[in-house]
Amino acid sequence: MAEIVLKHVQKVYPNTESKKKSFFGKKKKTEEKKHNLKVTEDGVLAVEDFNLTVHDQEFVVLVGPSGCGKSTTMRMVAGLEDITSGDVFIDGKRVNDVAPKDRDIAMVFQSYALYPNMTVYENMAFTLELKKVPKDEIDRKVRSAAEILGITEYLDRKPKALSGGQRQRVAIGRAIVRDPKVFLMDEPLSNLDAKLRNQMRAELIKLRHEIKGTFIYVTHDQTEAMTLGDRIVVMKDGVVQQIATPQEVFNHPANIFVAGFIGVPQMNFFDAQLVRSGNGFTVKTEDMNVALAPETCAQLALNWDDGNVKEITAGVRPEQILLADKGEEGALQGTVEVTELMGSTEHVHVTAPDGQFVLIIPVVDLEAKGALKAGDTIWFKFEKNATHLFDKVSGKNLI
């Protein structure tokens, strides 16, 4: 029922604003965030040419490091931030100049933003009371939302008497009761501790299927992005880097930034040369020579300009590196720097001539081969077709 379209949306914070703030010695959060962003004559470009269509009942996650413009984008959809240029449509209606209250949206904030002077019940009923919904209907809606979220017993409490997780549930409940077209969630789990965050994440996934709404979700946590989103929008410095499904983003990152941002621990990068010989391609370093699969070669050949050698940055995910035996074909030698036991796996940091690598080794494998410790020399190799190739200058994925 609700489709959100953002067309060429831009946000520029005028220069005067930052001048004024520094004049009075105040530093606001938004200003601190701006330092990586483009500065034009008009001001600081916080969001640049943002295009996205969120389909009905889709869950789209905006993800990126702090200050990448993801919250600003969401706030523009909510109407809390003016749009400098471009258009936002909700359900086909242009809403650029529509007040937040008339956009039929609900928003969950990182800081919960509950009304401290009202009880949980009043917090959830507030929006319905403003809409002059009959009392018994308000009661029914609030109680059913409370039931879904498991907060029925706290309905008479004030927010300050609740724990962080309970407060966040109330905030979500406040959003559910009004049955909005669009749910906007601005880092709703960031203020919770790790355990509670995992639990709430699972509940959000469940909830999402129960209430069938259109969601835009902002987070800097790539795990949340991967697990919650139907599609992920990766942003950096106000520019969209990639819009795709979580699997696509993970397997085929559009550029080196996306590759490094998604995945924990992050992808291993090393400098290499891409060498063409006829229709075949090989990735070459001092002690590595990996021939690429024919289908990869065919793709590379399509965009290949002159020359036989190209400087590239290659990337391999830690989980796609295997331990190898000495002298095995394609095996690289390295020295163990640090090992981190994570339970069922161990993260092994290795220094090799080509650079630093992190390997994720299942503990079962280690039991067979014997424990690793700092200073050990090991051999490792990449899984087949595991290597991602990025242009050294532009950072774009070459495949």
């Binding site: 009075f24 909510a78 937040p100 609900a106 928003m107 933003a113 002077n117 929006t127």
Partner: protein
């Protein structure tokens, strides 16, 4: 540690003596308000009450029956209530707007308000009373607008300090929930600011209730007297002073405000701190 203890003890003694010095005059007034007129003289004023000098509540009855006490009380009450209400309503809205809009102009006005606290009343009292007289602001019913002007500095400063501590997200949530700006203020901001209202209210009440100079200069004193002015009128002509009833009258004026202060002092300190430090 030991040195700290000694310093603490010395400070306690010092401040006890100091507080006694402040309490002493009030105590003297209370004491003399129960004495017979003959027992209040330069030599006997400091004596404690004895059965011979005790006058019961006669002085209080005299003060109450004094011509104009009831009307003075009413005028004081009207002026205090209207002024304080006006200050609270206008200044809290103004502070909210100034903080939230945060433009050059609003900042300018904020600093103008703060600056007004620096200007002493005595500097402009004659021009002000003259102006008030000309435009007819010299009755107990509209003197509150003059009080609004003088009270705005402190009130806006304190309210602004508190508003800065209200997370903006709460107001944004209300806006998304369906409030217009006026509703955001009255339904969300105002209830959150209750403690500040209380502390600003108490400070302004004490000031307006006890104020002598402003009503004396602006009000038409043949028609309107507030209680502080009335007390002055106990000094009759030819150096005759009715000290007993005067003391009783002072007590009746001071006691309510002192009781209110003691009951609410927690909020006063909270409010002042919120404005001054966290702002």
């Amino acid at each position: 540690m030991k040195r700290d203890k000694v310093i603490n003890r010395a400070l306690s003694i010092f401040f006890t003596i100091l507080s006694l010095a402040w309490i002493y005059p009030v105590f003297m007034i209370a004491l003399n308000s129960f004495k017979k007129a003959t027992a209040i003289s330069t030599t006997t004023a400091f004596d404690l009450l004895t059965p011979e000098t005790f006058n019961g509540l006669a002085n209080y009855m005299h003060a109450l029956n004094e011509q104009g006490f009831a009307s003075a009380f009413m005028y004081s009450l009207i002026i205090t209530v209207t002024s304080v209400v006006l200050i609270l309503v206008c200044c809290s809205m103004c502070a909210w707007y100034v903080v939230r809009v945060n433009s050059k102009i609003s900042n300018f006005f904020y600093y103008l308000f703060v600056f007004s606290m620096v200007v002493p009343f005595q500097m402009l009292m004659f021009t002000l009373s003259n102006l008030a007289d000309r435009i007819g602001f010299n009755t107990p019913f509209n003197i509150c607008f003059i009080y609004l002007g003088f009270g705005a500095g402190l009130a806006v400063f304190m309210f602004a300090g508190f508003v800065k501590n209200i997370p903006l997200e709460i107001e944004e949530a209300a806006m998304i929930d369906g409030c217009n700006p006026v509703q955001v203020f009255f339904k969300i901001v105002l209830p959150i600011m209750k403690p500040t209202y209380l502390s600003v209210g108490i400070l302004e009440t004490m000031w307006v209730w006890n104020d002598y100079l402003l009503p004396y200069l602006t009000l038409d004193s043949t028609k309107y007297k507030t209680i502080p002015i009335l007390i002055q009128y106990f000094r009759g002509g030819y150096g005759h002073v009715e000290l007993g009833p005067m003391m009783a009258c002072i007590m009746m004026v001071v006691v309510p405000i002192v009781v209110m202060y003691i009951l609410c002092q927690k909020y006063i300190i909270d409010g002042v701190v919120a404005g001054a430090v966290k702002g």
